[in-house]
């Protein structure tokens, strides 16, 4: 196959996948399946968004659950205070929740990015717990431990999940688009340079602080919007379930599984892990073994494929190819897409 043919094949494949994704609620309309679809698509979006910061710049944020929860509360509070009726209206406010989350991320990021990588991780964790504390204690605002309610959509029955699925799909698609544009821009190259060697990046003029902050804000904004839709979907949110470290860690694990810093890696990771997670929770959730199994899967994945599926697989393929002996000048790129 020529490179052009491969490129065409890839685009066609992507288009095909997208069409398939659009058709999921039609192919399998039963609520159990669409519920899985909603959560899976949610994590596709979350993993893709997290990857924009963690994958491209190498700055691992373990506090993204904070943005998720913040987006949830932002949307919920907006809907409550503006008296928005249930229906499709609330979806229009999701971008605003995203914007608010972006502003929050600007503040947190400005502060957290003053430190280098290791401290950054911990500072993000600290901020997440701070947000959780605020959600729990600002009872007048958030309802505290009692939770916050969302307007209950008028459409019900078997159809209930479907609009939410499309909302998640839309956000995931936007996330992927943004991720793609960034990856193919000078900004994206700068981010990758920061990941490889931050001081060297500075030496060639990359404005590292501004770049890192931008990536952080974009990432948080997307996560916030997804959190908003999630809140509306579950119709009632509590601080510890929405600012939940497990959500934050899951999105990170998915990116690592699929391939850190690639575009399709997070998607792959989410498509594999979320249904698995849901299955585990369904079958073993009652006993504490669920956590042990999850942890075991986790560990096996990380130890066996530390670079993630896509990079490992593509390396395997290119190794096969070079041993088959193509001309040396066509040195294969081992950077997977």
């Amino acid at each position: 196959m020529t490179p052009q043919q491969m490129k065409l094949a890839r685009w066609l494949g992507l288009a095909g996948l997208f069409v398939l994704a659009l058709l999921v609620p039609i192919i399998a309309p039963d609520p159990a399946t669409t519920n899985i679809a909603v959560f899976t698509m949610m994590y596709v979006g979350l993993a893709t968004a997290w990857n924009i910061m963690g994958g491209y710049t190498g700055y691992v944020s373990l506090g993204h659950a904070g943005f998720f929860g913040f987006g949830s509360y932002a949307l919920g509070l907006m809907l409550a205070h503006l008296g928005v009726k249930a229906g499709y209206g609330p979806f229009l406010f999701v971008p605003i929740a995203g914007l608010l989350t972006a502003v929050l991320a600007l503040g947190i990021g400005w502060f957290a990015l003053r430190t280098r990588a290791a401290t950054f991780v911990i500072v993000t964790i600290a901020f997440m717990f701070m947000l959780q504390l605020l959600a729990e204690n600002l009872v007048g605002l958030t309802g505290g431990g009692g939770g916050l309610s969302f307007p209950v959509p008028t459409w019900g029955g078997d159809f209930f999940n479907t609009p939410f699925y499309y909302a998640m799909l839309a956000l995931a698609s936007i996330g992927l688009l943004v991720s793609w544009v960034i990856r193919h821009s000078k900004f994206g190259l700068g981010l990758l340079a920061i990941r490889d060697d931050e001081d060297k990046a500075l030496a060639v003029g990359v404005p590292t602080r501004a770049f890192k902050l931008t990536a952080f804000v974009i990432s948080a904004c997307l996560v916030g919007m997804i959190g908003g839709v999630y809140g509306y979907y579950v119709t009632y949110i509590y601080p510890q379930f929405v600012v939940d470290p497990l959500i934050g860690i899951s999105m990170v694990l998915m990116v690592f599984l699929g391939g850190l810093g690639t575009i399709s890696g997070p998607v792959l990771g989410a498509l594999i892990l979320e249904p698995a997670q849901l299955w585990l929770a369904y079958n073993y959730g009652a006993s504490r073994l669920y956590l042990v199994l999850y942890a075991a899967v986790f560990l096996v994945v990380i130890l066996l494929m530390p670079r993630g599926i896509l990079p490992s697989v593509s390396e395997l393929i290119s190794r096969r190819r070079t041993s088959a002996g193509p001309p040396a000048t066509a040195a294969a790129r081992t950077v997977p897409r």
Binding site: H184, S185, L189, D197, V204, G205
Partner: protein, 243 residues
């Protein structure tokens, strides 16, 4: 007015005085060598000039503009590039991508534009060809040989068309044949108008290439002038052989 003017710059690390009220000037379009015994403060001076560490006292002026309080990225933008003692490139990016990382303009459009589009890519390939490493354009930085990395590092620095390039031991770890090539590239780039300040221990390299030489000893400038004159300066001989 010299292109780069360092005046009375000092830097202490705890009790160690690395640079001691050092002053030097780099003339426009020159190839200036910076030599001195080990520990004389050469690399520290580089780091001070390029904004990696803050100075204690003194001023650094570039094109009549104070730069001693700016960060490395700003300084690169203003026109000073540098290489490192151990060649540093981005291992997980291809050679071509390495060339496209350097930031010349910070406008939103410039940054969002495709890194592979437009004239940048052409310029990058042209520079790679000039350095005779175009054949590895699509190889990952981490897969390149050390010599290739050194050349790539130089090429990437050139991408923003700096006025002054600081080379930190360009001859380090390099075989004689490659060394000749590097010297040749430097001369050609100098013909195009780029000024060089080179830290080097390889005396042959310095004497053949440089138009003038500055000697550092214990953080101070002890001699400056044409290569031959400096070579015979008794203070310089003393610094290298004695004390």
């Amino acid at each position: 007015m010299s292109l780069l003017q360092v005046e009375g710059v000092s830097k202490k690390f705890g009790g160690v005085v690395a640079v001691d009220e050092c002053s030097l000037a780099v003339e426009d379009r020159s190839i200036t060598g910076l030599i001195g015994p080990n520990g004389s403060g050469k690399t520290t001076l580089f780091n001070l000039v390029t904004g990696f560490i803050p100075k204690d006292t003194g001023t650094v002026t570039f094109r009549s503009r104070r730069i001693d309080r700016l960060g490395p990225d700003r300084i690169y933008e203003l026109g000073i590039g540098r290489t490192f003692q151990l060649a540093r490139i981005f291992p997980r990016l291809t050679a071509l991508e390495n060339m496209l990382v350097p930031v010349r303009r910070r406008g939103l459009r410039a940054l969002l534009s495709g890194a592979s589009w437009g004239s940048e890519r052409a310029r990058a390939m042209e520079m790679l060809e000039f350095l005779e490493i175009a054949h590895v354009a699509n190889k990952l930085g981490g897969a390149l040989s050390y010599g290739q990395r050194k050349l790539l590092e130089l090429g990437a620095v050139m991408m923003a068309e700096p006025g002054l390039v600081l080379l930190d031991e360009p001859a380090g770890g390099v075989n004689p044949a490659l060394l000749e090539r590097i010297a040749d590239h430097i001369r050609k780039l100098n013909d195009r108008g780029i000024t060089f300040l080179i830290v080097e221990h390889n005396m042959g390299f310095v004497m053949n290439l440089c138009t003038n030489v500055v000697v550092l000893h214990r953080g101070r400038t002890i001699a400056s002038g044409a290569p031959e004159a400096v070579r015979q300066d008794p203070a310089v001989l003393d610094a290298y052989l004695g004390a």
